[in-house]
Every structure is written in structure tokens, then in C-alpha cells.
Amino acid sequence: MTHDMDKIREIISRSPAQPSSLITVLQDIQREFHYLPCEALKEASKMLYVPLSKVFSASTFYNAFSLTPRGENIIRVCQGTACHIRGADQLLEQLETGLQIKSGQTTPDMKYTLEVVNCVGACAMAPVMIVNDKYHANVRVDRALKLAKRG
């Protein structure tokens, strides 16, 4: 997959050209493309004077970053303690069966990506799932798939 290099350079140049901008730049790239394209990381390495290996380290260390393209809809199931004891595992299982993917994967048609997230701080309304930044509270297992597919 190739990306608009001008766009990538524009995103990187929003932050000061120094190594300490790395995480911010990666976040900006991720927001734009929903993942970190390889060529963007190489460009970031050059423009921020950070060795490519360190860019790769950071990209794989932080949970927020994905090195593979993600689907149009991102479904995240909270795995916080409160959600866990209120049945988050069952929600996840429903979604995995329903979408026929494991968590961390994307459906072959690139429509849905299923992810888990460690506590989004909406514990009072556990279990919680987030579909494209929209929070859903007190999700019942029989509603999970419908909420996910509604987008």
C-alpha cells in the first residue's frame, strides 16, 4: 500500500523536528491513517533524527499504535477490572464469534477491527464497549454484535 508522501511529511512537520516529538508524531500519523504505514515511519525517522530502530520500538511498545491497516469500524471492548467481573469476556467472545475474527484482527472485507482496551475509565457502567469512539454502557451480551454492526 502506498500513501501520499506529501501528506505524511505535512503531518510530521506539524511537530518540532526533534527526537522528543516522536510519540506525538506517531499519534498524528495513526489518527490520519488508523495505523502506522511503514513508509511514514521511515520518513519520521529521517525528519525527526531518530534511528529507525527506535521508531519501530516505540511503534510496537505502545498499545495505541498498529502496524497493520485497521478496518473502517473499530470496536473496542474494555477489559478493565469492573468490566471483567461484569462479563467483558463474554462480550468479547460474542463479538469474536459474530465477526469471525479474534481480538486484534480485522475482518477480511476491512469493515471491522476488534480490539481490547485496558480500562477506558467508564467503570461505573461496566461492561463497556466503544464503537468508533462512541461509548456503549452496560452492554448485554445479546446486544453486543448489533451495537458493533450499527457502527
Binding site: P51, L52, S53, K54, F56, S57, F61
Partner: protein, 258 residues
């Protein structure tokens, strides 16, 4: 100079000097796998852990990695308490599960009385103990061609994208410093292979012996101001060359005397 008590003996040390180097100087055997003088200490292997207390601080006792703890006056250091040994045994036990095939680990564990791991062995284990020596040495060279990627139990040392590392110059420092010798490399037919990247080797123009990777030589020429000529022949041929040149001068001088 300050005074510290090491296993009951008073020793002198420089303030701020790391405990491990004092321990080594005193000839006490404390294991350490991630420690190497060419790189900054990082405290990842945890084997050099010692017990410390202080002459003046009643009841204060800690376990610290000696490679990273700076000496201060009045410190009381014990390298072989039962608890310290227990920690070392348990860590080696974990290492045996992680790297069951490493001779280095096996030997060290046996020396500590651990002959087999209490835990389930890690599937697909290699001999990497994740001590970061390779990445740290690469950083000292200013290359940082490889790094630790992913995190937690999945952490591995790898080049970016698991492809040929663009910043690698084939110097072998990583493979050489690795305490368990896990980084594969080869020199064959004038080509060095490491991290799946191939490097041309400079071969001796006289005898054809392989000397150094072209990229590493270029690096030394550029950053260390070594004349390019120095890399043309191997050490054997350079000695013979020197002998010939000196010999010629000596002969000349002898003839002049006659």
C-alpha cells in the same frame, strides 16, 4: 575516597562508583549477564543483586542491583546472603525456562545449584535473555540499527520491520558482546551475513584473507579518521611488510657501516 563494608571487610572506593565494580575489584564472584564495561549498566538481568544496609541508618535494608547502585560512605554490602542466593537461584530458574538450551545459562544455574527449571519451558525458546547488550553496544557506535521491539513477555531484539537493518554496518559488535552468543552471523566467500543483511568484506590484497566489512571500514575511516590504506591488507601481511621495510633499512645501515 570513601569507606564501605563489603562482606564484612572494610574497603576503599570512589564515591559514586558502582558497587559491582568494587565487588569485582575485590575479587568477589557475583554473576552478571547484562553487564559489560563498554556499555552503560541497565539492570535487566538482576543477577548482581546484593543486600545493602548502612552503618548509620538503623533498620534500613534493601536489595539492589550492584551494577547500578553508586557507592556511598558507610554502606554495608553483602553479596552472598541466603536471601540474595535465593533470588539468584529463582532468577536462574526463570532463565532456564526461558533459554533451556543455553550452555551459559545452564552452567551458571548449575553453579548455583539449579539443575532443572521448576517452570514450564517457554515454547520456541531461543537463547536470548533480553539483556539489551546488543542494542546498547549498537547505540554506543551511534548506529542503533537494532532495538528491543514489542513489550513484556513478547519483547524481542529485532531490526526495524524485521527486515535488513538499514543502519547496520556489519561490525559484529552485537554478536560479539552477546553473553549467550545467540546472534547468528557468518563470513563466507567474502560476504558477511548478519541480521539477514549481506556485507562485502574487504579481503587482503596480498593473501586474500577476509579483514573487515566494507561498511565498518568506511565508518572507521569517516568517524575515526583512520587512513583508508590501513585496511588494504591483513594483519599478517602488514607485519611481514613492516619486517621487510625495517629489514631494508637495517641492511642499508649495515652496508653503510661496512
Amino acid at each position: 575516597m570513601i569507606d564501605i563494608q563489603l562482606n564484612g571487610k572494610m574497603v576503599k572506593a570512589e564515591e559514586g562508583e558502582m558497587l559491582l565494580s568494587i565487588i569485582r575489584r575485590e575479587g568477589i564472584d557475583v554473576p552478571a549477564l547484562c553487564d559489560h564495561q563498554a556499555i552503560e549498566p541497565c539492570g535487566s538481568c538482576r543477577l548482581c543483586m546484593v543486600e545493602i544496609s548502612h552503618r548509620d541508618w538503623e533498620g534500613w535494608k534493601k536489595h539492589v542491583t550492584s551494577c547500578l547502585y553508586p557507592a556511598e560512605d558507610g554502606l554495608i554490602v553483602n553479596t552472598h546472603t541466603e536471601q540474595v542466593l535465593e533470588i539468584r537461584r529463582n532468577i536462574l530458574d526463570l532463565y532456564l525456562a526461558r533459554c533451556p538450551n543455553s550452555k551459559v545459562i545452564q552452567k551458571l544455574a548449575e553453579e548455583h545449584g539449579v539443575y532443572k527449571t521448576s517452570f514450564d519451558k517457554i515454547p520456541n525458546a531461543d537463547n536470548c535473555i533480553m539483556c539489551y547488550a546488543c542494542t546498547r553496544i549498537c547505540e554506543v557506535l551511534g548506529r542503533s540499527a537494532i532495538s528491543a521491539v514489542y513489550r513484556g513477555h513478547d519483547k524481542v531484539i529485532a531490526p526495524p520491520f524485521n527486515e535488513e537493518p538499514p543502519d547496520c554496518i556489519g561490525c559484529l559488535s552485537c554478536a560479539m558482546i552477546c553473553p549467550t552468543g545467540v546472534i547468528p552471523w557468518s563470513d563466507e566467500n567474502g560476504v558477511r551475513t548478519i541480521w539477514k543483511k549481506k556485507f562485502d568484506l574487504i579481503v587482503c590484497e596480498k593473501c586474500g584473507k577476509e579483514i573487515i566489512s566494507r561498511d565498518f571500514a568506511d565508518y572507521l575511516i569517516e568517524t575515526r579518521a583512520i587512513p583508508e590504506d590501513y585496511f588494504k591488507s591483513c594483519d599478517d601481511c602488514k607485519r611481514i611488510d613492516l619486517a621487510r621495510k625495517m629489514g631494508a633499512i637495517v641492511l642499508q645501515a649495515e652496508e653503510a657501516k661496512l
